[in-house]
């Protein structure tokens, strides 16, 4: 039986494609709000078209092409305000670069850098932590405003406001769309990691009666962390955070009893731990060691979590053998959500 095209299909395509699409558009139009609008327009077009025509064989390219034509339109209209005609051509050429001749290549070439740039932008320190979280989930997680609101137990208009203000703040401050380098990079990366870990902890603190969107935040944070680990693979703290989240998430289903009562780590049924995640967490920790990043705050916490993960029973926990317990530098600051 051939599957029918439900809303779920377009949702799924959006989930996969929207971060890349928005990131590519931000690079071209240099404005987060405009980029998101253009991407949304492309989504609306898809919602109108695809139920009749079917999902195109390359839906990402379709969305990109649709958004690009609108981008050119918008840039042209902007340019018409008070500028001479020959300037318009140059303006479009300059802002779109090769995008005019080969939009797919222009959007494809530097997808990794675009995504990383978008993460740094969404997590920019001029924004409040709440705004960074909302913008990140929206732009990089492909979550709707309603989903973010449900996940964080706040009214939808509050989240919508946060996102609108955040985008405006970025535009007003003229935040450049770029991957920070040099001394600034560490601080900016720390902000990205903090946002991801905040999302994770919000999901981790969800309890049995909560809306399913809350625990889903753990998965979302893990996904963002894994994506970041691919984009900034040379950064040990990124792997440290991923290791920490994989190891903590491995215990999600063991930390509450049948009637929802909390079970402390040492009393947990280790058979209910998720061994795939433990394996992944330990592998991420190995990457931290290979990059010589053992003293990072996330790496240290991950190493402590790993002491537990490696032990068959609580009694076998190797408290002293891990570098977390012996090699940790007292100067490294725990992230704020650790307090």
């Amino acid at each position: 039986m051939q599957a029918r095209l439900g809303d779920g299909v377009i949702d799924a395509v959006w989930k996969i494609e929207s971060p890349k699409l928005i990131a590519g558009l931000v690079r071209i139009v240099r404005d987060v709000e405009l980029a998101e609008d253009l991407a949304q327009d492309a989504l609306v077009a898809a919602l109108e078209r695809w139920p009749k025509s079917g999902v195109p064989s390359n839906p990402g390219a379709w969305l990109t092409a649709t958004a690009k034509y609108r981008a050119i339109d918008v840039l042209r209209r902007q340019a018409l305000h008070g500028r001479r005609r020959e300037e318009i051509g140059r303006e479009i050429e300059a802002r779109l670069g090769t995008a005019v001749e080969d939009p797919d290549a222009a959007l494809d070439d530097s997808i990794g850098d675009d995504l990383l740039g978008l993460m740094f932008t969404a997590c920019h320190p001029i924004l409040s932590p709440e705004a960074r979280v909302a913008l990140t989930l929206r732009l990089l997680g492909g979550l709707t405003t309603a989903e973010i609101a449900r996940a964080f137990l706040v009214p939808e208009p509050t989240v919508a406001q946060r996102i609108v203000r955040a985008k405006r703040a970025l535009a007003e401050a003229g935040v450049p769309f770029e991957i920070p380098r040099g001394p600034e990079r560490d601080a900016r990366l720390a902000s990205v990691l903090e946002v991801i870990y905040l999302v994770f902890n919000e999901g981790y603190s969800a309890t049995a009666g909560d809306d399913w969107m809350r625990p889903a935040l753990c998965e979302e944070a893990l996904r963002l962390g894994r994506v970041l680990a691919g984009l900034a693979s040379e950064e040990p703290e990124v792997h440290g955070l991923v290791a920490l989240m994989e190891l903590q998430a491995s215990r999600l289903r063991a930390r509450a009893g049948r009637s929802g009562e909390p079970i402390l780590l040492l009393d947990q049924d280790r058979g209910r731990w998720d061994w795939i995640l433990i394996h992944r967490g330990l592998a991420a920790l190995e990457r931290v060691e290979a990059l010589d990043g053992k003293s990072g705050a996330y790496a240290l916490q991950a190493a402590i979590a790993a002491c537990h993960a490696r032990a068959r029973t609580a009694a076998e926990t190797d408290w002293g053998g891990s570098w977390a317990c012996t090699g940790g530098s007292p100067g490294s600051h725990p992230p704020p959500s650790w307090r």
Binding site: D11, A12, G112, E219, L222, R253, G271, R272
Partner: protein, 143 residues
């Protein structure tokens, strides 16, 4: 939610023919895309069934049957384990995969049970078993 995505075997995979360089490159690219999207938890390719065996159960009796096995279409040649939001998302990813073989192939997508799906059927005794299993897996993970 998690999905086991299985590549069905065919005569080519069962003969032990290795994929050519072009397919390996394409598959590598696809896998990289899955990793970069934070979707891929695990993936393996399987040797032909001639290198495997079956254990058949009948009541308390066990019979070992050596490979190869004839009913090629029921065999799997490899698998991915995806972490995604919906079956639709898993399908969308699979559609992006290169064709694993020249000509006809089939990839099957199955949702993985989570422990909570079993509900009360997972008794304390079974949980105890699972615990021992987990302990042994932890031992393996150390190696």
């Amino acid at each position: 939610m998690r999905f086991m995505v299985m590549v069905k075997a065919n005569r080519e995979s069962e003969s032990g023919t290795l994929p050519d360089e072009k397919l390996l490159t394409e598959m590598g690219k696809f896998n990289e895309e899955l990793v970069k999207a934070g979707v891929l938890l695990a993936a393996e390719g399987l040797q032909p069934s001639s290198k495997g065996a079956r254990v058949r159960f009948s009541g308390t009796k066990r019979t070992v049957i050596d490979g190869p096995f004839a009913e090629t279409k029921e065999l799997i040649a490899g698998f991915w384990l995806f972490q995604v939001k919906s079956l639709e998302e898993a399908i969308e990813w699979v559609k992006r995969s290169p064709n694993p073989f020249a000509g006809e192939s089939e990839i099957e997508i199955r949702q993985v049970f989570e422990p909570e799906d079993f509900g009360p059927a997972l008794t304390a005794e079974l949980q105890e078993q699972e615990k021992l299993l987990g302990a042994r897996m932890a031992e393996n993970a150390k190696r």
